[in-house]
Amino acid sequence: MRKRTALGLAIALVLSGCGGQQATPSAPTAQESYAAGGLTLAKRPEKIVSLSPTATETLFAIGAGTQVVAVDDQSNYPAEAPRTDLSGFKPNAEAIAAKQPDLVIIANDIDKIKDQLTTLKIPVYLAAAAKELPEAYRQFTDLGALTGHRKEAEALALKTKDDIGKLVAGVPRHPRTKYYYELDPTLYTVTSKTFVGSLFALFGLNNVADPADADGAKGGYPQLGPEALIDANPDMVFLADSKCCKQSLATVKARPGWAAVAAVRNGQVIALDDDVASRWGPRIVDLVRTIADAVNKVPA
């Protein structure tokens, strides 16, 4: 964590050193503009409010952390992010405006918050939940362009893409391996059509939930019945409810009927970090690495 701050500081120093010669360092020049996603800022934003935990992670990863004045109550990474009680689920326009932001980043346009803030002349960038990797990369570069960290953002997107490519290439194919991805103990799950589902699809894994939402009417988030799930007999179980609901191999094994499921018998029940698994920021590489490690342990 400290290293990251030091790095961010170093980058900031280098950047400010470069611009030090100019009379007005924050004024846009021919090379430097602050625009992306239909939004153009007059100058480099210095008081950013992020209501998206994913955007918060990205901002700090591309060296824009020092420009962030407030993040929402769910933005728990990195630790130095200035967490407040602002909510991204129940956004309060007045509370956000009180921070006098020059850029607000949201993941959900709830309660017309974008219109409300625009009325107050506060620029809003909507970084909605990515449906696939290219969208996540585009948000990296958009945030880079908006905050004056274009190069770092492009480097981050390239490196993320590269790392994921290498991880996927380093794992043998298991075309008949089935997995189940748990969002909570009431068996809410994801299909391959969701962002996280697309990461598993990179490895050619089969999702047991795909038939439960074949037409996509449930938005890729169906709830399975316990009997159908045990009957589907997944080879791997990924728990995205290890933090929220304290689920683990032991608790899954103790559920009625689960002891006979292949994943439980072979110990292929993998606890994920709920936060990493539900975001589409720079830490997707960690998630993909966890998946790759697990797939590597599947007997050929």
Binding site: F89, T186, L187, L224, G225, E227, G257
Partner: protein, 336 residues
């Protein structure tokens, strides 16, 4: 007439249980299922041809779920019948009087405070506390002038108030939203023997008390003064019955979520079959309620397989039109 209704009820339960055990999301051979059920008896070891996973599906998922559905259906129907007698209101059911909303608030508060993914063993206590507060409020606000309309309105007000408190809690604890939401819609999904055993003692106490007092319910229908002249204590019976019905409802709701309309459909159907004496209505309601719930759960877990439809949705889907029919026929009777 009553004997026929009794035989019909027993047959309905048996058929519902057979169907509930034979069908499910996993297609298993009915013969194999039957053999595995026999294997549960001490000393029986037959070969069913099912693999260990399929055996687990039968013995650890379907069987406890069918038993839980029977218990919940019986308890809710019995409690509904008792409420209708106590309040002398044919439309009273646990849901309308705010008991279920109270239990719901209790459980929601409990889940959000504990941040527990699974239902903790103390859940029925929280549900019961909420239920008792709710029914007491409804009775205090709307019960004194003994008009059914005032009572229903009091129930609506209490339910709305408790629902607002519940929504507020959920809003502040977004993380628990999905767990509470799927609980609210009614869930026998994560059943197992644990939930069944949790419900059993409460269900037994509630059932025994209500059945012992079923004669008093008939006396209550003639009015308090006549009841007193017949040597019974109407106010005391009323409070005991309310407490017992609330206990049963609260326990059922805490393991199964909010399952609506069962408490009103079943006693009314039984009334059509077996007449207006609570001595017949209450025990028969338990039978028909058990059968109805097992079948509703069967629909819920097979129609959308591999997903499930919450059982509360299934019972309301069949219950709401029936409720309207009952409403129409009772208003017509009142008009004549």
């Amino acid at each position: 007439m009553k004997l026929r209704a009794l035989v019909g009820g027993v047959v309905a339960v048996v058929l519902a249980v057979i169907a509930g055990l034979a069908f499910g999301a996993a297609s298993l051979s009915p013969g194999g299922v039957a053999v595995e059920l026999l294997n549960l008896l001490p000393g029986v070891h037959l070969r069913s041809g099912l693999d260990p996973r399929q055996v687990a599906i039968v013995t650890q998922l379907r069987l406890p779920r069918v038993v839980l559905a029977m218990l919940v259906g019986a308890v809710l129907s019995l409690a509904g019948g008792a409420y209708q007698g106590v309040f002398r209101n044919p439309l009273a059911d646990p849901y309308l009087l705010g008991v279920a909303a109270g239990a719901g608030l209790g459980v929601t508060a409990f889940i959000t405070l504990r941040h527990a993914g699974a239902l903790p063993p103390e859940t029925p206590v929280a549900a019961f506390a909420g239920a008792i507060v709710a029914v007491a409020l409804t009775y205090l606000l709307g019960g004194r002038d003994r008009s059914p309309a005032a009572l229903i309105l009091a129930g609506v007000a209490v339910s709305a108030f408790l629902a607002a408190a519940q929504t507020y809690l959920l809003q502040r604890n977004v993380d628990d939203l999905r767990a509470v939401y799927s609980w609210l819609l009614g869930r026998l999904a994560t059943a197992g023997w644990h939930d069944t055993l949790l419900l059993l003692p409460y269900a037994m106490i509630s059932g025994i008390v209500i059945l012992l007092l079923r004669r008093d319910l008939d006396v209550l229908t003639v009015g308090d003064e006549e009841a007193a002249s017949l040597g019974s204590h109407p106010q005391r019976s009323r409070y005991i019955l309310l407490a017992a019905a609330s206990l049963g409802t609260a326990a059922a709701v805490s393991v199964s979520g909010l399952i609506g309309f069962v408490g009103v459909i079943v006693p009314h159907t039984v009334r059509l079959l077996a007449g207006y004496s609570y001595r017949a209505i209450l025990p028969l309601s338990m039978l028909y309620g058990a059968a109805f719930m097992v079948l509703a759960d069967l629909v819920g877990r097979t129609v959308a397989s591999p997903a499930e439809i919450p059982i509360g949705v299934v019972t309301a889907f069949f219950g709401a039109p029936f409720f309207v029919l009952v409403l129409r026929s009772t208003t017509r009777t009142a008009a004549t």
